[in-house]
Assembly symmetry: C2
Homo-oligomer: 243 residues x 2
DNA sequence: CGCACCTTTGAATGAGATCAAAGATGGTGG
DNA sequence: CCACCATCTTTGATCTCATTCAAAGGTGCG
């Protein structure tokens, strides 16, 4: 549970041929574990490896000149981490393990080889990168134009939806291994204010919190409060045929 | 001046073969003009075409449930517009002409064909999509963790840098065909507050404004105020060989 | 069991929003 | 060419949401 590989992820969007499946599996030959809190990729440092997340949560963050931190994205099993290394030799972001994690590292040039040998997977990869970009755009809108309560709701909603995509029980408890400071750094709020907003959401019986967990009591209202938009599934009609 | 095509853009990052060059040029066979203010792609509507920007400015925006608008990205000549259509059949964003523009429309499946026939260009496209993602991340950090003055400075700085990349004179005047409301929608501020911040920047002799133009008086200080990070040029070491 | 870290709550402060209204500017049609 | 009107910019006054500062509980780990 809570573990997914590249092939499973890609397979959600297109039926893979045996050879494609094999090519993706080859990205997961290596395996490496990190402890909660470990820094996997450090901002501004030269890095050559990307990773497939096998299990656990991570986040990408940026530290501003004024010392404050902004978390830009959370990563879950099946996600690709370190994509910016395909564009920049020095990482523009820090990638940190939120929980204990297991990753599959692989070299940049393997992506090039994948695209050359399996253009359809290359196209699918582009598709996923673009979907990611849309997620970033949604977050920009959330930060730029919505009040605190909405932003916190949006983050919880995103986590809820993503965990459900990985197969969490419907109304069951969801792990929330983030400190309120983390949530603040993701939503552009202070930890204090995050605390107040979470309390309000709990008082309104939209969520319930206990320990490092939360439970969604009223999915409809959470989505409404969060301004959640269900992005239709990734489009694959334009992909070239498999080779 | 101020016009650039796909081949020029790609050529900045890798030396193109004749056949690659030709393949990219073929994306610009069609041509279509729009007036300032025209909506090129409408949010939530089904769209099948992407565009290469030949000349002029555009922006992508999202309208939130509360009626407010967030501009997520500006597009300049040589940019690809409508990439989200590679992942979603219905556009998640509205694309609007900021000035009179000329675009080259093309179908989604052409991207698939390009990747299949020219994997290296596919990889480069992925690279550019990833670079875009990093730009989004930078903006998230700006919105989430910096004060108003910094955000406005960051936007002007971005425009300044991008215009320079397209060949604007060093200390010369730069067109700014945006209303203060537009700038507010991009920076997550009100038009009124944008006005105040621009005034402060002008009073501090960092920029100068006249008509629909601005001039950067003190590039170093603008960059410092904006927390500008010069992202190193797009990395191409991992690309597969040209076919 | 004790310490470090996290959560929670209260009170004061402040950055940016909102409300309001007076100038500029520019595009359009007569 | 000019007058008019819509749109945009500018400035002031007030209000509010979120921050900051401070301090008291919790929690879990070594």
């Amino acid at each position: 549970m809570g573990a997914e590989g590249l092939a499973e992820r890609f397979g959600k969007h297109a039926r893979l041929t045996a050879s494609e499946q094999a090519a993706l599996d080859r990205f997961e030959e290596q395996q490496r574990s990190y402890r909660r809190g470990a820094v996997v990729i450090r901002e501004q440092e030269n890095a050559r490896e990307l990773f497939v997340v096998r299990s656990g949560w991570l986040h990408s963050s940026v530290v501003l000149g004024n010392g404050s931190r902004q978390i830009t994205r959370f990563h879950f099993p099946g996600d690709l981490v370190g994509l910016p290394l395909l564009a920049f030799p020095d990482s523009p972001e820090t990638v940190t393990a939120v929980t204990d994690i297991v990753l599959h590292p692989f070299g940049r040039e393997r992506v090039g080889a994948l695209i050359a040998e399996h253009p359809r997977l290359g196209a699918l990869l582009l598709s996923l990168a673009v979907a990611d970009r849309v997620a970033f755009a949604d977050r920009i809108a959330s930060l730029g134009r919505t009040p605190a309560r909405t932003r916190v709701a949006a983050l919880l909603c995103e986590i809820y939806m993503r965990m459900r995509g990985l197969g969490t029980a419907e109304g069951g408890p969801i792990p929330l291994p983030l400190t309120q400071e983390d949530i603040g750094d993701a939503t552009g709020l202070t930890a204090v204010h995050v605390n107040r907003m979470m309390r309000v959401l709990a008082e309104d019986r939209i969520i319930e919190r206990r320990g490092g967990m939360f439970r969604v009591l009223d999915e409809a209202r959470l989505c409404a409060d969060a301004g959640f938009l269900d992005r239709s599934p990734v489009e694959t009609g334009w992909l070239p045929p498999p080779r």
